[in-house]
């Protein structure tokens, strides 16, 4: 695929013609979330099962400031990046000391810590009811309260995020992280402090997650408790894996597929997480390399037969 960026641009332009702007917005927000996770999962080989920690924390903090202190959009996004990065620094510091299964379990357990704090601290977070009333402030004279206007803002920010992530993965850091994934012992022998680089990946991934979290809060006008919960963490892992963790664009495809799936199901049944779980199970059992992998295999195969 020679020009994936062109395809992405086309998707950004055409998507709101196919689905409601709010859903299209959600797709790009989730894609940003997935890009952050994939730096850890695809590039560094670290399965973080607690990304909602950074997504949700940023959403709550920025949401609180937006609601009670009337900060502007860029400040809110800045806060989101900062909170996402900081919470990732704290969580990452504890997690990168262990590897493999322990790492996965720790990311999950620390996610639960943040979840319980959000659940109990009802005076600030609203507990189970979430934090409603998140405004969508204007930028200069532009009002973003219409779904289309917000879609334009979010998709522009998505393209910006994609460009930033592209720079990161094409930089020496990107290569060092992949080296750690390929052979951590050799990467250290060659002169890289692996835990520190993993922590850096964590922080960058956290920043992306936080950024997405703030956009999410402004999209729905509420920060739901679920946004910091384990199901959310699992959703982004699922989306990234089925999109294909081996490429930069995998999480984008995964986000499209996942949001479309979950939105279609939520209108069918109140117990739609069950259907989502069934979808997970089916996809995992039958569509393993991910959608990107499946496509690239078909692509290579068709090239050989011509």
């Amino acid at each position: 695929m020679k020009h994936p960026l062109v395809l992405v641009l086309a998707a950004v332009v055409l998507l709101p013609l196919v689905v409601r702007p709010a859903i299209a917005t959600e797709i790009w927000i989730f894609a940003i979330f997935g890009l952050g996770l994939n730096l850890l999962l695809g590039y560094t080989g670290l399965l973080s099962f607690g990304q909602a920690t950074f997504f949700g924390s940023a959403a709550y903090v920025a949401g609180y400031l937006l609601k009670h202190y009337g900060i502007g959009v860029f400040s809110a996004l800045g806060v989101g990046i900062g909170v996402g990065a900081l919470s990732a620094l704290l969580v990452g510091y504890l997690c990168v000391q262990r590897s493999g299964l322990y790492f996965i379990m720790l990311t999950f357990a620390l996610n639960q810590l943040f979840y319980f704090i959000a659940y109990q601290w009802t005076s600030v977070t609203g507990g189970e009811d979430g934090m409603p009333g998140i405004p969508r402030p204007p930028i200069l004279a532009i009002d973003f309260r219409s779904p289309v206007a917000y879609y334009v803002l979010v998709s522009a920010l998505f393209l910006l995020s994609l460009w930033v992530m592209k720079r990161v993965v094409e930089s020496p850091l990107g290569r060092i992280l992949q080296a750690i994934r390929e052979n951590e012992v050799r990467a250290e022998a060659v002169g890289y402090n692996a835990p520190r680089f993993k922590l850096l990946a964590f922080v960058i991934g956290g920043a992306f997650s936080g950024f997405a979290g703030v956009l999410y809060a402004m999209l729905f006008g509420i920060v739901p408790l679920e946004s910091i919960g384990f199901v959310f963490s699992g959703n982004v892992v699922f989306a990234t894996l089925i999109g294909g963790s081996g490429s930069l664009y995998g999480p984008i495809i995964g986000s499209v597929v996942f949001i479309w799936l979950s939105e279609s199901m939520s209108v069918v049944w109140a117990r739609w997480p069950l259907l989502l779980g069934v979808a997970f199970v089916i996809v995992v059992l039958f569509l393993r390399g991910g959608v990107v992998e499946a496509f690239s295999r078909i692509w290579r195969f068709s090239k050989r037969t011509t």
């Binding site: 399965l47 099962f49 504890l94 000391q97 262990r98 299964l101 322990y102 996965i104 379990m105 720790l106 999950f108 357990a109 620390l110 996610n111 639960q112 810590l113 979840y115 319980f116 704090i117 109990q120 601290w121 384990f230 199901v231 699992g234 892992v237 699922f238 894996l241 117990r271 997480p273 069950l274 989502l276 779980g277 069934v278 979808a279 997970f280 199970v281 995992v284 059992l285 393993r288």
Partner: protein
């Protein structure tokens, strides 16, 4: 003071249940190399099965025997139908499978038993309190401590003293070696999953009369089970007990003074221990 002692006793009771959960998870995760995200759901189903069986047969003791077996069977089915098929796809996919399963099971509980919490009384024999000298303490909780202790001992005996237990421990250390020795590795996986599920199921069944049931009980317990394994170490029986008791008592003591923070304390204790000892309570660096 009596309040504190009473809370410590509560902490021991719940701590033993946490240890059982950690142990079951540790077996599944250690042998199959995947964190079992459905473990909390298995716990919850154990509790709900108990309620249903007692409702059907009218006998708590029968329920306590049958419910965990039901969960073990469920574990067998999960391993056979899904986890095994994904062996070649790699750990990420097996993990996602258990996650999807957790979603399904948690929702199924709501579908079958309803979204509202249920309370379940202990059997007549175990109702009321016992005079321990410094306080009256609920008989049922003493029973739970006893039962959980017996189960831990039984698991220990199985792992340390039987041939199959040794195979399971070896499987946690080195799967290749075990299969090279001619042992059917797939049967080992199934056995580990079934045993782990059994432990989760009986922990759930025992919990039902203490805290009541709610659809969310599985998710809450899942995180705690992970904490026990992270602190205690995979396949480490002593570690699971130590970690379980530590967080159980910490939670109970904090609950006396600051109820809201009591569950968060479990994770805070974990974070604190790991800051000082990244390898957990007993791990080697």
């Amino acid at each position: 003071m009596t309040l504190l002692l009473g809370q410590i006793l509560n902490g021991i009771a719940t701590g033993m249940l946490y240890a059982l959960m950690g142990l079951g998870l540790s077996l599944i995760t250690g042998v199959l190399n995947i964190p079992n995200f459905a473990h909390g759901a298995l716990f919850a189903i154990g509790a709900y099965f108990l309620v249903s069986v007692v409702g059907l047969l009218g006998n708590f003791w029968l329920g306590l025997m049958v419910a965990p077996l039901g969960v073990a069977l469920l574990g067998l089915a999960i391993e056979w139908a899904g986890v095994r098929r994904l062996y070649s796809a790699g750990h990420d996919y097996q993990l996602l499978f258990t996650f999807g399963l957790a979603l399904i099971l948690n929702e199924l509980i709501i579908v079958i038993w309803g979204p509202v919490g249920i309370s379940h009384l202990p059997p007549a024999l175990l109702r009321g309190g016992m005079d321990l000298g410094f306080t009256f303490y609920p008989k049922y909780r003493l029973f739970v401590m006893l039962m959980a202790g017996l189960l831990v001992v039984a698991t220990w005996l199985f792992l340390e003293k039987t041939r199959y237990g040794a195979i399971m421990r070896a499987g946690i250390e080195n799967k290749e070696m075990v299969s090279l020795l001619g042992i059917d590795i797939h049967r080992l996986f199934t056995a580990a999953f079934a045993l782990g599920a059994y432990l989760a199921g009986i922990a759930g069944a025992l919990t039902a009369p203490i805290r009541g049931l709610s659809p969310g009980m599985g998710v809450d317990m899942l995180g705690i089970a992970f904490v026990v394994v992270a602190l205690g170490g995979l396949g480490n029986l002593l570690g699971a007990i130590a970690a379980g008791l530590l967080i159980g008592i910490a939670q109970a003591v904090v609950a006396a003074y600051w109820t809201e923070a009591s569950t968060a304390v479990i994770f805070a204790v974990m974070a604190a221990v790991l800051l000082v000892r990244p390898q957990g309570l007993f791990g080697i660096r």
